[in-house]
Amino acid sequence: MTQQTDIPADPLIIAGRTFRSRLMVGTGKFPSSLALKQALAGCDAEIVTVALRRADLNNPGGDSILSVLDPKRHLLLPNTSGARNADEAVRLAKLARAAGCEPWVKLELTPEPRYLLPDPIETLRAAEMLLKEGFIVLPYIQADPILAKRLEELGTATVMPLGAPIGSNRGLKTRDMIRIIIEQANVPVVVDAGLGAPSHAAEAMELGADAVLVNTALADATDHEAMGRAFAMATEAGRMAYRAGLGPERVTAEASSPLTGFLSKA
C-alpha cells in the first residue's frame, strides 16, 4: 500500500512482533481456496486466522486453507472457534502447538452456536490458563470495557471486541463501548466480527482501533480480490484519518468565513 511521506511509518506491534498491515483476515466462510487466495492477494493481510476445528494440521498440504498460506508472508493465527468452555479451548491450542503452530492463539469461546457470542467467564478462565502455558493470547470478546481491562491485566496480547455478531455484516453496533475500550486500552484493540463493508472498517479505525478482522464480507464478495483491496484501503484510510486528527462533531454549524472575523484583525 502507499505510504504518505509526511506521516511516519506506523506499524502494528503485537507481543513485540511488528506487522505492516492492520487488516486481519478470517478464513472460515470462503467458497474455495482460490477465493481465499484472491482475497489475501487483494488485501495483503499478514495475520490470517484459521479455525482449528476445520484445519487438518496433520495433513497441512492436503488442507485447502493451510495450503494457501505462505509462512513467509502470513502469520497463521489458530483460533479456537467452536470451543464451548475453557478446557476445550486450551486443549485445541495445545494440539495446534503440538502440530507445529507458533504459540499464538485467537481465543474464541462461543458456547451458543446461533449468534456465536463469546462467553466472558470462560474466556477469562481460558486466557489465564493459556498465558500460564506460554501462549500469546488474542481474545475475542463482547465489547465490555471491564472485561477488556481484566484480560489486559492478565497479560493478553490484544483485546478483540466484536462490532456486531459474527457474520451479521451490521457494522459497529457496539461503537460506544468500543470507544471506551480503545480509550482505556494499553494493548492493541482489534475490532472483530460484524464488519460488512469497507466503511465499517474505516469507522473502526477512525475511532482509534489498532486493527480490524474481516471474514464474511470478503468471502461473500463477488470479486474477492477487489473487496480485499477495498478493505485494505479503508483500513489504511481510517487509520490515517485517526492519526491526522479528526475534527470534533458539532451540533451547530461553524462558518468557515466567520462574520466577526474582522475583530481579530484590528
Partner: protein
C-alpha cells in the same frame, strides 16, 4: 419441560387452518421480516407461497451464506447393525420383513475395518446407525463403537434408538458429538398407526430424546420427520418448531433439520402422501427462513441432479458414498439387508466436485479431537 406442550398448543387443525388462511401478502410480509413467527412459518408453508418460491429461495440463500458461508460439511454413515425389534410399517428393517440371514451387528473388528476404509476416502465426520434393537445392540456396545470410530474420525454422531440421558452422557464422554433422531411423524395418531411393535411405540420417550441428548452434552442435535407419513407441510411446521424449541432449551447445541422423504417402501406399505420436488423445496425454504442458523441436511435418498440443485437453497451438510447396509463398505458387501435404497450413488469425490461446481467448498473436517477431551488420533494424552 417437553416439546409436547408446544405441540399441544399447535394441533394439526390449528396449523392447517393457519396455513390455509395465508395470503400472498402474508407470504411477502414473512419474507420481509427479520424474525419470523409461527404464523409467518405457516404462511411460508402455504399454497400462496408457491407464487413466491423464488424470493424465498433468494432469502434462504442469503441467510445461509451469511451464517454458514459457502461451505458444505461432508459426512458418511456406517450402519453397525440392521437387527431390529420394531415393526415400522414403512421400513425395510422392520422385524416383520424377516430376512434373518441378512441381519447382523458388526463386530469390533468389522467396525474398525469399515472406519479404516471410509477414513482413507477422506471423511472426518461419521454417523453411526443401528436399528431399533436395544437387546441386540445395547447402549454400551454403541458407546464402544463410538470409541472405535473416534480413533478414525474427529466427529462421531449417532442415529440410533431413543436412549436415556445417562446413556447419551456415556457416549458424550466417549467423544460423541451429535445425535440425530427423526420423530418420523409428529402426528400422534399416525405415529401409533405406523409403529406397531417395540420401544419405538413410546411416542413421548422418542419426542423427548433430543432434550435428554442435549442435557447430556451432545453438541449437535438433528431433527426430522419422514415426509410422506402424514401431511408433510404440517409435519414440517412441527419439525421447525421442534428445532426452535431445542435451540432455546439446549442452547449450547447446534440444531439441524433433515428432510427425508419416503420414496421406496416395503410392498405392504403404500405412501399415503407423496411429497413432490416442489413440496420438498418449499419445506426446506420455509424452514431456513424460520431458522436462519439451523443446519440443513439433504439425504442420499434424493437423486443427484435434484440434490445438487438444493445446495444453494440452504443445505449445509451432505453425505456421500453412502451404504445403508452393515458392512456395506468393506466387510460384507451386499450380503446384508439395506434400510433403504440410496439414490445418490456417486463417490465422495464426485459429490465434492458437484459441490464445487456450485461455488461451494466441501468441508471434511469441522470438529476437533480437542473438543472431546478423550483419546483419539491426534489427541494429547
Amino acid at each position: 419441560m417437553s416439546f409436547l406442550t408446544e405441540l399441544e398448543a399447535w394441533p394439526a387443525e390449528r396449523v392447517r387452518a393457519c396455513i390455509e388462511a395465508a395470503t400472498v401478502d402474508d407470504v411477502d410480509r414473512a419474507i420481509a421480516r427479520e424474525e419470523r413467527t409461527p404464523h409467518d412459518l405457516c404462511a411460508l408453508l402455504s399454497t400462496a407461497a408457491l407464487e413466491r418460491l423464488e424470493p424465498m429461495a433468494q432469502e434462504a440463500h442469503r441467510l445461509t451464506r451469511r451464517h454458514f458461508g459457502r461451505v458444505i460439511k461432508m459426512y458418511v454413515p456406517i450402519y453397525i447393525s440392521n437387527v431390529c425389534g420394531a415393526d415400522c410399517t414403512y421400513c425395510g428393517y422392520a422385524v416383520r420383513s424377516g430376512n434373518k440371514e441378512k441381519r447382523l451387528t458388526l463386530t469390533e473388528a468389522e467396525t474398525r475395518r469399515e472406519c479404516e476404509v471410509l477414513a482413507a476416502q477422506g471423511f472426518q465426520s461419521l454417523l453411526l446407525l443401528t436399528g431399533e434393537a436395544r437387546q441386540a445392540v445395547p447402549p454400551g456396545q454403541i458407546a464402544d463403537a463410538v470409541s472405535i470410530a473416534h480413533e478414525y474420525f474427529p466427529s462421531v454422531s449417532i442415529e440410533v434408538y431413543s436412549l436415556s440421558e445417562d446413556d447419551y452422557r456415556l457416549m458424550v464422554d466417549r467423544g460423541l458429538e451429535g445425535v440425530t433422531l427423526y420423530m418420523e411423524t409428529y402426528d400422534k395418531a399416525t405415529y401409533e398407526k405406523v409403529h406397531l411393535k417395540g420401544e419405538k411405540m413410546d411416542y413421548l420417550f422418542r419426542l423427548d430424546a433430543l432434550d435428554r441428548a442435549g442435557r447430556a452434552g451432545a453438541r449437535r442435535l438433528g431433527v426430522g420427520a419422514l415426509l410422506g407419513l402424514f401431511d408433510s407441510h404440517i409435519d414440517a411446521f412441527w419439525t421447525a418448531m421442534h428445532a426452535r424449541y431445542l435451540q432455546r432449551t439446549c442452547w449450547q447445541s447446534e440444531v439441524s433439520i433433515s428432510f427425508p422423504r419416503l420414496q421406496h417402501t416395503p410392498e405392504r406399505f403404500s405412501i399415503p402422501r407423496l411429497v413432490s420436488n416442489q413440496d420438498l423445496v418449499q419445506l426446506m425454504l420455509a424452514s431456513r427462513l424460520f431458522l436462519p442458523e439451523a443446519g440443513i441436511t439433504i439425504s442420499t435418498r434424493e437423486r443427484p441432479p435434484f440434490r445438487d440443485r438444493l445446495i444453494p437453497l440452504g443445505v449445509t451438510m451432505m453425505s456421500a458414498g453412502s451404504s445403508t447396509r452393515p458392512g456395506g463398505y468393506a466387510t460384507h458387501g451386499e450380503d446384508t439387508l439395506e434400510q433403504f435404497e440410496v439414490e445418490d450413488t456417486r463417490t465422495p469425490a464426485e459429490v465434492a466436485a458437484a459441490i464445487r461446481s456450485f461455488g461451494y467448498e466441501p468441508v471434511w473436517k469441522d470438529y476437533d479431537y480437542g473438543f472431546a477431551g478423550v483419546a483419539g488420533t491426534g489427541s494429547i494424552s
